[in-house]
Amino acid sequence: MLSFSRKIDKTAFRALEKHLILAYSTSSEPQREEEFRVLNLKHVKGQTVQRRSVRKAEIQPPRTTQMPVDQDWGNVWPGPRSFHPATVPLPIRQGYTPTGVAPGKYANAELMKIPNFLHLTPPVIKRQCEALKKFCTPWPKALDSDEKCERFFPLEVASSDYCHSSPTIRDPLARIVSVKFKLGVLGLEGRAKDKFLRLVGERYDEQTDIVTIVTDRCPLKKQNYDYAMYLITALYHESLNVEPWEELKSEADMEVYIWENNASKTSIEALFGKEAKEIENVEQYSQAVVRYMNEGENQYTVEQYGDAVRKILNLPPVPR
């Protein structure tokens, strides 16, 4: 009974509802423009902007394809420039890939990194030398050999001039002056030479006997040159000069072993009871000791020393 009445209620309500909605929809027709606009973030539908089509630049074929065989390369590549694949008509490869061959010349950064000498081909150099020739003076006829050059011009001065297009015409590297000369031409002997070598230090090359002095502390080339000349003069006179403290040099300060100053001589004199000069075979012995001390210890120097001692002491030689 109860459930039946409920059912009736429900159906009645629905009918009423329908009716109401109908009534509302008909009445709201003129108010549509004032509807609250919904913010829709997901899909903004608007006018699509017309994209401008990218106009591709027209790529020329590589210049190498149009090069004649007998062209003048000096005009194609007139100055120093980093590598350009389309200009160099050579099938060059450079670089490394784990598999396959080395990359070719196109889009190859490795080829652009390394310096090239494409502007200095032999015909170009020849042409440039020819052009410079009219500015040169003839070589002195009397200086026909290297020995003469070295004898009359013992000093070799080198500096650089720089010429390039930049706002300033001065290059800081142009101030550096290097002076070279052979130590032999100074005519220093013994103690003076030793002192000179100690003063110049690593500027002396033992193999070639050349002293190199590089000056760069003054701002101008002329000043640096004058300073180098001053240095050579000062070094020369200073090494000839004997300071009082130099006389204090003792055996321990010696750079080489000198037999005459050492205990070896006194002991051999005491052993024989006479002057070193009068002893037989002393020359060989002293030389052996000097070599033993100066050349360092090895099988050969020890054997030489042993042989010399046996000779001076009159002992039988080593059985071989």
């Binding site: 050492n262 012995y285 020890v302 042993g306 080593v318 059985p319």
Partner: protein
């Protein structure tokens, strides 16, 4: 069939017995000159020449105990005990020195020989051979078996009573005096070996002039306190007597460079290192190795093992002796002790095989030669396990 089988087994057994007999007899000294070219019958070092190089000769057991006491390296000594005989190989350096000693003019100042060579090349054994020769040739032996024992491993240290700042190794000194006495027993009883001056030890003790050297030595042995002083006095007396022509002396010091190596292992109470020139014994033996006396010869070895391990850099005499040591010995005759020659190596292996110490297998010598690089000590070590 059965018969022959039993016979074979019998024969085999018999062979085994034979083999066993050989083994047991191998331990006994035997000599068969024909079959053993690695051995020489010439057991007298006076007659050793270059012809004997690479051959072993036997040192009589009684002589070995007295004259070579401490002169053989420990490992070699153990091996001689195993072999039941002491055999030394005649090698070129020792023959060279013996040859020089024979031809020396003993009126001239003493000649110094310095044995040098790499570790384990046989410097000490060369010295032992020279010692044996010197003993046979009637030299008075002043032999320090191994200087490292004093400088690296001293028994006891006390400050010297007579010298300011000096230190005594009295136990070692007394032990050395005993060694010296036993080595030279037969010579020391000679009547001309008398002290040349009076030695005063303390208020009550003194050794008068013209007393025999034996008395002096006995005093050092009995009164430990004066042992180091006694060695000094003995060195002085020996020099005087040798100069006077009463005896011929051979000074042999093994590991001589330890006298010039500042980092000793001799420590004072406060663990301060005592340098060798502050030890009284050093003074005695440095004085004995000078050339200011005649009728004597000096043989020393310079050895890396005598100094601390961090300084084992070179085996050459100038490095090991240092400037001071070189100047002390200069002019000396350097004698290089090389590794084995192929002939010496074969001879050594033959000797080991004869002693039944190693068993033969083909190409054994070649393999051992390359493994040991011809170094005698390394070869000995390798053969222990064979």
């Amino acid at each position: 069939m059965i018969k022959s089988g039993t016979f074979k087994s019998l024969l085999r057994r018999h062979k085994n017995v034979l083999h066993f007999c050989q083994l047991s007899s191998a331990a006994q000294p035997q000599s068969d000159p024909k079959s053993h070219s690695f051995r020489t019958d010439e057991n007298d070092p006076l007659k050793h020449t270059l012809d004997h190089v690479g051959q072993y000769y036997r040192v009589p057991q009684n002589e070995c105990k007295v004259y070579l006491y401490g002169g053989l390296p420990k490992s070699y000594e153990i091996q001689t005990k195993t072999f039941n005989e002491t055999c030394l190989m005649v090698r070129k350096p020792s023959v060279d020195i013996i040859n020089c000693l024979k031809g020396l003019d003993y009126t001239k100042p003493a000649v110094r020989f310095v044995l040098f060579g790499k570790k384990g090349s046989g410097k000490s054994l060369t010295m032992a051979h020279v010692l044996h020769y010197a003993q046979k040739a009637g030299f008075l032996l002043v032999h320090v078996p191994w200087l490292g024992n004093w400088m690296r491993n001293p028994k006891e240290l006390s400050s010297s009573e007579t010298r300011e700042g000096f230190y005594d190794l009295n136990l070692d000194a007394a032990a050395w005096l005993v060694h010296f006495k036993s080595q030279n027993e037969h010579l020391l009883s000679a009547p001309e070996l008398k002290t040349t001056r009076e030695h005063v030890w303390s208020k009550r003790e003194s050794t008068p002039k013209d007393s025999s050297l034996l008395e002096l030595i006995d005093h050092g042995i009995n009164r430990l306190k004066y042992a180091s002083e006694c060695v000094l006095a003995l060195a002085e007396e020996l020099k005087q007597l040798t100069k006077a022509g009463n005896c011929k002396t051979l000074v042999a010091i093994d590991g001589f460079n330890a006298f010039f190596y500042p980092k000793t292992r001799v420590f004072k109470e406060k663990k301060e290192v005592v340098p060798p020139n502050k030890i009284t014994l050093t003074e005695a033996f440095l004085s004995l190795t000078k050339f200011d006396w005649n009728n004597a010869a000096i043989v020393v070895t310079v050895d890396e093992i005598a100094i601390a391990e961090e300084d084992h850099k070179s085996h050459f005499p100038r490095y090991l002796l240092g400037k001071e040591g070189f100047e002390h010995l200069d002019p000396f005759v350097p004698v290089f002790v090389d590794a084995y020659s192929p002939k010496e190596l074969t001879s050594c292996m033959d000797y080991y095989r004869e002693r039944k110490w190693v068993r033969y297998f083909p190409q054994q010598d070649e393999e051992l030669a390359s493994l040991s690089a011809y170094n005698p000590y390394k070869l000995m070590k390798l053969c222990i396990s064979l």
